[in-house]
């Protein structure tokens, strides 16, 4: 391939019409607080597990909104459910419930 000195990056576009919004809609129906996230990152910065692993709740919400559920699940599997994120969330998002619901969702699907 001819080297032009630059390269084309692949598209980062997410087609919300075709993405898998099943999990997001389920979470939204369950308590609805997931839609209140302003991505401030308080949860991620206070996270106990975040000291040792890439666990990041803010990112997980974003991924789920975009239908990338598997990645979100991988991201929070190290969560210790200590509840710090629930306490620091300025929007009152019930984070522990959402994390448990995601895992329960995968439990039903897989096992």
């Amino acid at each position: 391939m001819v080297n032009f000195g630059f390269k084309l990056s692949s598209s980062k576009r997410i087609d919300l019409d075709s993405s898998d919004s099943d999990l997001f809609l389920k979470l939204k129906a369950e308590s609805g607080t997931i839609t209140q996230c302003i991505a401030c990152g308080s949860c991620a910065s206070s996270c106990s597990a975040g000291n040792f692993t890439p666990v990041n709740f803010r990112k997980a919400i974003l991924l789920i909104e975009r239908g990338r559920n598997e990645e979100a699940k991988e991201l929070i599997k190290g969560c210790m459910l200590c509840g710090k994120c629930t306490l620091v969330c300025p929007r009152g998002i019930n984070t522990r419930e959402i994390i448990l619901s995601i895992n329960q969702y995968y439990k039903k699907e897989r096992f």
Binding site: S46, S48, F52, M80, G83, T86, L87
Partner: protein, 604 residues
């Protein structure tokens, strides 16, 4: 006194006899099912508790709890009298009925229906002292039961007068059993009264007979009334297995099993089944539950959960997930059903264990420089835990206190902690939490300290119950400060301001630590009482156990708790839990402090 009917039989006994046979078969099968589900060890424990001195405790418990309802008496005298009069009165009616049969018609001994319908089958030839004595007793106990029934009917309309703001909603089975129970005793009274001129009667039945004799011919209605009485009994007995009144026979089995030290291992079967059927749906837990502040949440209280479990409803899990696990319902339950344990087991059975993954902990965990090199019983290892990291004022005060007392301590999780595992356990992930417990235990044992100091009751409970730490003493900071004061290492001056102390659920009810924090506070300030007993303190609303509570619902629980705490108008609120501190300080108009902060302020 002699028999009036030659064969000792009349067709009206058939409904009652069928009812008794049905209920005997039902109870027999049920008991057998529960006993067979016990493990070998549990069965041996049960036998051991029956054939030893423990049996006296069991008998005492049965007498006090099942017949006399002492625990309900302690709550409310009228409510206690209502329960005790029906239970004890009915028992005495049956018991004396049997004695009568043994004494006067020994040939009918062992006939199921005879003691119940004794007065129909006998006639008085000459007034004997014994007859009069027993008839007097029977009338007396019938009157006692009737007064209980009258109270029960009154309670249906005005339960507040009997100390209950809310009562349980009834299902059809409950209603049928309830109405037939209300009918049984008035019918018995009328039936016996109408027969009293033949069989003889005492102050109640005899008098009614004389009065009625002026208006109606008693023999005309006699048979009808005995039929009605028998039918009411039969209706009650047939409805019993489908109603809350199953608690009457089941509680006896429950007391036997509990005194053998058996605990539930499943949320529905085995021992749990005896607990579930022992629930009398009295509804004391509805008023006790902090959830009931939010109106629709009162549908999720223990009594309804037990009902759902009993009917094997799928949404019992949803109810279990609502609970704050503060343990107040267990504390107040007159039958002592450990419903929190059942909820916990229910959640454990449905937890997605396979998805959580904590392998990273063994690869990378917090490093801490330990100043403790050798095993020393005096050395202190402090573990803040997740919650205290959100309220650093607690450990700052605590460190100041320890510096003043010249204590050698090291901070285990200054740079981030591994969670103690209790939040995970409360969510049902007991198996997943094993990894956290293993790594934390290793870290603690490696530190060679004598005391593990905690400032979070949630951690305290789990370190006490689920960890084995090679003899490291686990202490909550309120206990440790109390120890320091006793040893004279710190001195406090008593302030002239008043405070109230909030018992955190996991420290008070959960771990039984009531006196030490109070001792510390009393030496630093004037301690006022809250409106609740220490063992009945109300959850601050911050509990990590519930995954379903929204932020606003939590706030209404907090406000309710604050209202009860501030009833005597204290200047400050003292607590001993980082989570309580966080929940309260947000909404309390008065100053909210941790016990360590109070001590730091008053230290000289």
């Amino acid at each position: 006194m002699k028999e009036r009917i030659i064969f000792g039989y009349d067709p009206f006994v058939i409904p009652f006899t069928l009812g008794v046979i049905f209920i005997m078969l039902y109870l027999g099968t049920g008991t057998l099912r529960i006993l067979l589900s016990l493990s070998r060890k549990e069965a041996l424990n049960l036998l051991r508790s029956i054939f030893s001195v423990k049996i006296f405790k069991t008998i005492k418990d049965i007498l006090f709890d099942v017949l006399l309802h002492v625990k309900i008496f302690k709550r409310n005298i009228l409510l206690g009298y209502m329960h005790a009069s029906i239970a004890f009165g009915w028992f005495m009616l049956i018991f004396i009925g049997h004695i009568e049969v043994i004494l006067y018609t020994p040939q009918r001994n062992g006939v199921i229906y005879y003691p119940v319908f004794f007065r129909y089958f006998v006639m008085e030839t000459s007034q004997t002292l014994r007859g009069a004595f027993f008839f007097f007793l029977m009338d007396l106990f019938l009157l006692i039961v009737l007064s209980g029934i009258a109270l029960a009917i009154y309670k249906r309309f005005r339960s507040v007068r009997l100390g209950m703001k809310r009562t349980t909603r009834h299902k059809t089975g409950d209603k049928i059993a309830l109405w037939s129970l209300w009918l049984i005793f008035p019918l018995r009274l009328v039936a016996e009264s109408f027969t009293a001129d033949i069989s003889g009667g005492s102050f109640l039945t005899g008098t009614i007979n004389t009065l009625m004799g002026r208006f109606v011919e008693s023999t005309l209605y006699m048979d009808t009334l005995w039929w009605a009485y028998s039918c009411a009994l039969a209706l009650f007995l047939f409805a019993l297995p489908f109603s809350r009144y199953m608690h009457i026979p089941t509680e006896i089995l429950l007391i036997f099993l509990r005194n053998a030290g058996i605990k539930s291992t499943s949320s529905r079967n085995g021992f749990a089944e005896s607990e579930i059927y022992s629930c009398s749906s009295c509804g004391i837990c509805i008023d006790a539950c902090p959830m009931s502040v939010v109106d629709e949440k009162s549908n999720y209280t223990s009594v309804y959960l037990l009902r759902k479990l009993r009917r094997r409803k799928l949404d019992s899990l949803f109810l279990a997930e609502q609970c704050l696990m503060c343990g107040k319902c267990v504390e107040l339950c007159p039958v002592e059903i450990d419903s929190c344990r059942l909820k916990f087991l229910k959640k454990r059975e449905n937890f997605p264990d396979q998805i959580f993954d904590y392998n990273y902990l063994s690869k990378k965990h917090p490093e801490f420089k330990s100043s403790i090199n050798r095993q020393d019983r005096e050395k202190v290892l402090y573990y803040a835990g997740c919650m205290t990291h959100l309220t650093p004022q607690i450990y700052k005060s605590l460190f100041n206190i320890m510096d003043k007392a010249q204590i050698d301590y090291s901070f285990m999780d200054r740079d981030g902690s591994i969670c103690c595992g209790r939040p995970l356990i409360l969510a049902g992930g007991e198996r997943a939490a094993k990894e956290l417990i293993r790594v934390n235990s290793e870290l603690i044992i490696r530190a060679n300290a004598g005391i593990l100091l905690l400032s979070c009751p949630i951690c305290y409970k789990v370190f006490k119950e689920n960890y084995s730490l090679n003899g490291v003493e686990v202490m909550h900071h309120s206990q440790y400060i109390n120890l320091l004061i006793k040893q004279g290492k710190i001195k406090l001056k008593k302030g002239d301001f008043s405070v109230v102390y909030h018992d955190p659920c996991d420290l008070g009810r959960g771990s039984g630590v009531y006196s030490e924090p109070r001792a510390v506070i009393s030496s630093a300030a004037v301690l006022k009482e809250s409106s609740n007993l220490p063992a009945e303190s109300i959850c601050c609303g911050g509990s990590l156990a519930s995954r379903r509570f929204s932020q606003s619902e939590r706030e209404s629980v907090t406000l309710h708790s604050l209202e009860k705490l501030n009833i005597n108008n204290p200047e400050k609120l003292i607590t001993a839990c980082p989570l309580c501190l966080r929940s309260f300080s947000k909404l309390n108009k008065r100053e909210t402090l941790d016990i360590a902060q109070l001590v730091e302020e008053q230290m000289i």
